[in-house]
Symmetry: D2
């Protein structure tokens, strides 16, 4: 668990929890070390209460259930089933955002495993040998064709990227630029390729990640550490017959990526902002050049709902072997090395680190 903003990350023993009716206990097989966990370590998320157990996307086996527990769509569950669950829960279905505006990812009641719960709330994070699944948590059994390794390769990045691809309305034949080569950018690259993009151009760093991007379907990559901003634009124009991208997906977290991404998009194109998950400051844009005169569509993309989670598992089941999903996993770490895994993620030494709490 993370003790407090700034750390430390340390291990603690908890008693076996008692299950209230409708709850289940998961034996954690894999849990992700995500960029969000780096934010948690540094106290950048307002909603997080410390100390807390990180780990919002997890996969494991049902160890125990209290009474009748089903998967999210009412299917039966048995002990030993390999399952995952949607970290977001308690979306209320009873507020103006949920019922009238139908913007459920803006529901004020939603809670997130591994982020908005503290240690006092129980075993509600994945960096743990067991996870307590509260009644109503939306559980999905993995299809036979989706291994635990493949699922965790997609991680939280895959449904997030799926939401961004939907939000950007990526269509057969579109030229797509993806900004950012972290897990979300890499998964957006894979999905844009699967969605029949004409060219997928991945703009990011370091080189190791760009190579993974190529294995996932990028037609071209641009290393931002080696290519000045004006050259990046020229390169994108070259690759798009001089027009710019039909759709650009921002997945960087860096505010300065936003005006650059607008410039990389064609007049009348679509720019999806999905990577600005925390407040990293403001950036100057030109309303005349970048928005109005470009006739640009800029679309913020916040969170995921169950449909993105469910459909991303369907995508894994359908397109299991190509792209090479597992190429994003740099290494598996035991729980004892969680701090090291977090440091490796923060310093970009790895693409994605995965914890095996019961290793």
């Amino acid at each position: 668990m993370i003790e407090a903003p700034g750390g430390p990350v340390r291990i603690r023993e908890f008693p076996e929890p008692e299950l209230e009716p409708g709850a289940a206990l998961l034996r954690t097989q894999y849990t992700e070390v995500c960029g969000t966990d780096v934010h948690l370590l540094h106290g950048r998320l307002d909603a997080a209460p410390y100390p807390l157990i990180p780990g919002h996307i997890n996969v494991g086996t049902i160890e125990a259930t209290a009474g009748d527990v089903t998967d999210a769509l009412g299917g039966p569950l048995s002990e030993g089933d390999l399952v995952t669950f949607l970290d977001v829960h308690e979306t209320c279905n009873a507020c103006w955002q949920c019922l009238v505006a139908k913007s459920t990812t803006r529901c004020p009641s939603r809670r997130v495993y591994g982020i908005t719960y503290g240690v006092e709330d129980g075993l509600l994070g994945g960096w743990s040998e067991r996870i307590y699944l509260k009644p109503g948590v939306r559980i999905v059994r993995l299809p036979e064709s989706v291994t635990a390794e493949r699922f965790i390769a997609g991680g939280c990045a895959l449904p997030t990227a799926l939401h961004a691809i939907q939000r950007g309305d990526v269509r057969l034949g579109d030229n797509v630029v993806v900004q950012g080569s972290g897990p979300v950018g890499l998964m957006a690259t894979a999905l844009a390729r699967l969605a029949g993009a004409n060219r997928v151009i991945l703009v990011g760093a370091p080189q190791r990640r760009l190579e993974v991007g190529e294995r996932l379907g990028a037609d071209a990559t641009i290393d931002i550490t080696a290519t000045p901003i004006e050259e990046r634009r020229e390169r994108v124009l070259e690759l798009t017959s001089g027009h710019g991208a039909d759709v650009t997906i921002e997945a960087t977290g860096a505010p300065e990526a936003v005006p650059e991404g607008m410039h990389l998009t064609r007049d009348g194109g679509v720019y999806v902002v999905v990577g600005q998950y925390t407040d990293a400051g403001e950036v100057a844009v030109s309303p005349h050049h970048d928005i109005n005169r470009k006739h640009l569509d800029v679309r913020g993309c916040w969170g995921i709902d169950f449909s993105h989670f469910y459909r991303s598992i369907e995508v894994l089941a359908r397109h299991g072997d190509t792209p090479e999903w597992e190429s994003v996993i740099s290494g598996f770490y035991p729980l004892d090395d969680a701090a090291q895994a977090l440091a490796d993620v923060e310093n970009l030494r790895v693409v994605k680190a995965v914890l095996k709490p019961n290793a």
Copy 2:
């Protein structure tokens, strides 16, 4: 005509033009003095060659035609008909923007009467007793129920606002904020009301314009000279059950209106940027708070095409008496007073000034 960036505005005699086949000559009844003309006076539009004759939206009578001249949809035209025409022409229908991307307002060939033509090109601006209608210019005969005064009250602002309302997908029951009380903002106010908005809130200045906004359909107005920015936001939240606007339409030309407009819009809402017609500089936005976390749709809106022009005349024909379209016209000026009219517009002494070149 405007001699050069910075002026002066002066009158010049031209010989009667000879008509090439398919051309027509218009006797100008009214021509607008638009904010764009203020930009022209100060040399803020790159595409404008000096000296030039301003006046892009005009209404008058057909004085002569050379051969077979029809209206835009092939209907017959006779001398004496009261007509207007789309200032934008030569959209090529033969480039990637026109044919593939279908972003015709981004066609590089388009030319605009009163803006992209110089005096050397002929009588191609409305501040003139006669206007030369080149072959292919899209002419529309005014329906009987639309007087010349009512048409010029709408002016270029009405089709621009119609485009913005379409781009914003304003629907029955939406709460709409309009930023800016110049002609485009006032017409957007009128159209949002006609489109069945729940509440239309007009944010602008000075008071005289806000009063016109109320006559055009605003439910509430906020005077930016009397209300600090934070109070404006509180007022909008109050008027929208705490959510913010479903759709906000920016029609100000001031970059700083953009982040404010984002704050006035609800999570998951739509923000249309239509007023940033010239480059007035950059502005700082927060990609996290203003776009990503808000799940906001930001939509640039550039120019108009024939459909907006045609449909805006239909709106005038249908909703002739309510709203009070003519309330935007502060006064009619003879051509001799063009410089004065321009100064009155620039200094916000009037809402809209109209020239009568043949008065």
Copy 3:
């Protein structure tokens, strides 16, 4: 209550119900006699168990609550509050239709007051002095500006029509044809007018209903009993510059209206089918002429969700006095005259009949 398919309609005494926690008891002020109730009388709805208490849209005052009962969005409720509630409930938010396809009106768990409940389930229909509001029923307090009479004038037709207008994407300036002058058609007429339609043309019968349509905003009406089908088409073409309607909304229940409605719609237009609530048989259409070559959009529109219900009350609050909503109510009947009211509705002797169970 209706005893069985075919009737009779008779009155029965029930004991005062006991309230389970979270439930409330409503003293019924008004309840609608709807075309659906005619279908119920004749046993045309598969889901209906007999004997049953009809009445799905109701308004009344809170008489008692068991524990903490709030309105649908969490607001406080007190005894004596004037409220209504969404007849559709138990939409599960836990099935593939709800969570993945987001077609909540196709959720198999949904139940409807006054339709899918039998007498054995309790006081779950509005033709009753009291209505039992089960826990979780979505209650809405009427805004001050919406009287009980005005609300019941809208009835279930208003949110249904709102859904149809949204589904048809009716926009400012569209020419709209409405087929059918029952409550749904009349409310669609009113809403199309409020949404800024250019011309609203109501096609129906008898004359009495068409006159109400004019009071609600129809620009033209066509009496199907006096005008042969080919003349109806010619009249619509005349009124739409020869093109046909941009959007046509079917609200008749008669299968033969469907091909006619396709012919009344312009090439590339939208045809919404909302009135085919029960199975009245098949009808022949020409896939070539009516769909493919016309490049037509045909959109089925099933049921309503809370957003339509909530927003329709907002529309009543905003546009209270124009249109003349109450003009659809032909008369108020005591509960003893329910059978008569039903017969009057079936025989088109009235536009809308309203019951006052506590009169």
Copy 4:
């Protein structure tokens, strides 16, 4: 050429045409024998004047140009360039359909090579050694990676299918049913696969065509000659987790396919009707079950415009080797065997027949 409705098909010598300014002469390499040509032979198209030269989709080399002739987007053309051209031309860009409704495929002025021109109009069909390209015809040079064989494999079916895929809004992860295994159905199969469909299910006959469908990307095929209609539905439900297709694309020409296609589509899904190109009669549908209660979207899809043609060539250039485009071509025929080719197409002895006029 086809002499008259009913035939015969015979060869005739024409003099070398003189080129008016802006025209070009094409030496035909390949021309398609399309289902449309079978319709022409039997006189099923109203717009066709006899005698006429069939062949609307063609590829060949520029043999001569009169003055300055460019490709559709203004690029240079030289003798010997391998080009194709859009058969649809003279879309007027000056009528209500083109300018206001933006339904350009419904423009009344459009003419089509090989269909709406008779022999008296000149060499305006592809079953000819030379084709006369009138000024303004939209010519596209084939990219290097697209051979003439690959282009003609796509033929007119590919842009038609692309339009249908766009109209159906096929998205990553959708289950797609394609009805009809002629060229349009096969190309829709290939494009649905490229667009990232979860499962593509091709319903058609004979077996030979279904096998080609598998090579183009079908996950499953259903032979309508071997599987009764109710079993077809069960099979589709099985393959779609019991829901039916998210999107079904009709490409059969048989009216009875339409109600079946509606049944194969899920509630709230999309049904595209693109195959009902000629009038083959009416069919009975149930407005209640098939449209209203299903909350179905039915979308007619008529013709193509330049964007579909241009983008389909981009798709060929990008996805050249997979799918196996050329697998649809059953054989190449010399012009002398045109009647035989037509008979082979009509009798489904071949998938697609291609003529080599200069063989």
